[in-house]
Amino acid sequence: MDWRTTVDRLFPDGHDVAADGDFLGGTGRSHGEAYAVIGQTNHADVGVELALRMAQATLAVVREHPGRPILFLIDTRGQRLRHRDELLGINRYMAHLAKCVELARAAGHAVIALVYDQALSGGFLASGMMADTCAALPEAEIRVMGLPAMARVTRIAEERLRALAAHSPVFGPGAANYVTMGAIDRLWDGDLAACLAAARAAAEPRDRRRALGQERGGRALAAGIAERVLDAVVTE
């Protein structure tokens, strides 16, 4: 999926979004409003440099454009799996990005994410999954890891995992399953500018994913358990 096609559809009023390596940055205009665009391309392996670059762009929006909504464009095949990144503490770089997104939210920025191509595990956690609301294009590929690797780690036969994936939103890859699980708000199709405007209007800082997962039948327990912890009576 070419990011340019997606960005053109999102911002019919114009944009200056450009790629620099695996990083996407710029400003887009839609329905009379400017959006800060921060993203990934080339199915990025998110290493320390890209996490830092995305964090820098997020901090710049908070500093220079109070209140401007932020759109994250996601295309990652995961965190960079290198010794060097672990040596430098890549978990801290990812956490820094996640905290910068939280800062933006706390400062009143609406934060929206769109998976326009791929979203796998570590590269997705600190960016798209930190947004107020995350959407996906229908053909987007979203998953934890490939089934062969999952079979190796869990020692569950690949055939069995494949059968489970075909019927269960818990195991199945793909954007539609993540909608059922509540992690993806909805699939965007047709007029992407209208989808963006609607998401921007509906965005709220509260994490609604567990409630959505329950409503849609993908995650039966998470919402109820969190509520029970919140409501538990504790005597000193």
Binding site: A55, L81, D85, G89, N91, L125, Y178, V229, L230, A232
Partner: protein, 295 residues
């Protein structure tokens, strides 16, 4: 039963018993509620009545805290739907009630892959809840010193905390050495080279890089004192703090981005004999690190 002193050897419940003020712990969703994972049950795998995490309210050195302890003995402390929801509820409760702090005893490989998408989403909700709790003014401090370390998405969650207390035995990272070796071969990262693994993701390296606030001996009482101090110290969450972290992380890549091994980094930090670092006792190491540590 005599008390367990080693944090590394202790179970989640033994750690809580040793850390918290005597008689102060009130467990939320205890094992009697049989709060088990439906996904493990569906796969015919063993379940735990607390889903591998103990949570509750307590006093820590007099401080009013909410605590969570992950049990490495159950699926390596991995996070599934129920496990994650207990953590998220606890963090949101802390923010709502303005307790003095949240204490997370982390021992986890990250996403529980047997719960696939549900595990990944749960970890992301935990990361977001930690950040939101901090943004709401409540410190969240973490401890790492168990057999399984703290990896995967929970390595990100750990680094979102206000402060981390780590022992020399503690390991912290994102992708485990085995995962990297599987992806890029033994020349990229030899997961069986214990010394290499230790100096790349171990407690001393993380302390020297400035990724944990305290390095302590493998004793439960040492963790207790450092965790209480970290809750009291707090740390602001805001633009200037994140800008400072940003400068530090950018400087780290500039200074060490071409170093091939932790010993190269340690030498740059002023350790004239980096090969001796692994053998130093914690107290001696921390004393020498005062002038030989980033950040």
């Amino acid at each position: 039963m005599h008390p367990i002193h080693s944090y590394y050897e202790a179970t989640a419940r033994q750690r809580l018993a040793g850390l918290l003020d005597p008689g102060s712990f009130r467990e939320i969703l205890p094992p009697t509620t049989r709060t088990v994972s439906p996904h493990l049950e569906a796969l015919g795998l063993p379940v735990a009545f607390d889903d591998g995490i103990v949570i509750g309210a307590a006093r820590l050195d007099g401080l009013r805290v909410l605590v969570a302890a992950q049990e490495g003995g159950f699926m390596g402390g991995a996070v599934g739907e129920v496990h994650g929801a207990k953590l998220v509820g606890l963090l949101e409760r802390a923010r709502r009630d303005h307790v003095d702090g949240v204490v997370l005893l982390l021992e986890t490989g990250g996403v529980r892959l047997q719960e696939a998408n549900a595990g990944l989403i749960a970890v992301s909700e935990v990361i977001r809840a930690i950040a939101a709790t901090r943004a709401g003014g409540v410190p969240v401090v973490g401890a790492i010193g168990g057999q399984y370390g703290c990896f995967g998405g929970m390595g990100i969650a750990a680094a979102c905390c206000t402060a981390l207390v780590v022992s020399e035995e503690g390991r912290l990272g994102l992708s485990g050495p085995e995962v990297i070796e599987t992806a890029h071969g033994v020349d990229e990262f030899d997961a069986r080279d214990r010394a290499l693994v230790w100096r790349t993701v171990g407690g001393k390296h993380r302390y020297l890089m400035g990724d944990c606030a305290a390095l302590v001996d493998d004793r439960i009482d040492a963790f207790r004192d450092a965790l209480a101090a970290a809750v009291r110290a707090g740390e602001p969450f805001g633009l200037s703090a994140l800008e400072a972290e940003h400068r530090m992380l950018a400087a780290r890549v500039a200074a060490h981005g071409r170093d091939a091994d932790a010993t190269d980094i340690w030498r740059t930090l002023g350790w004239e004999q980096p090969a001796d670092v692994p053998g130093l006792a914690t107290a001696d190491f921390v004393a020498q690190a005062r002038t030989r540590r980033a950040a």
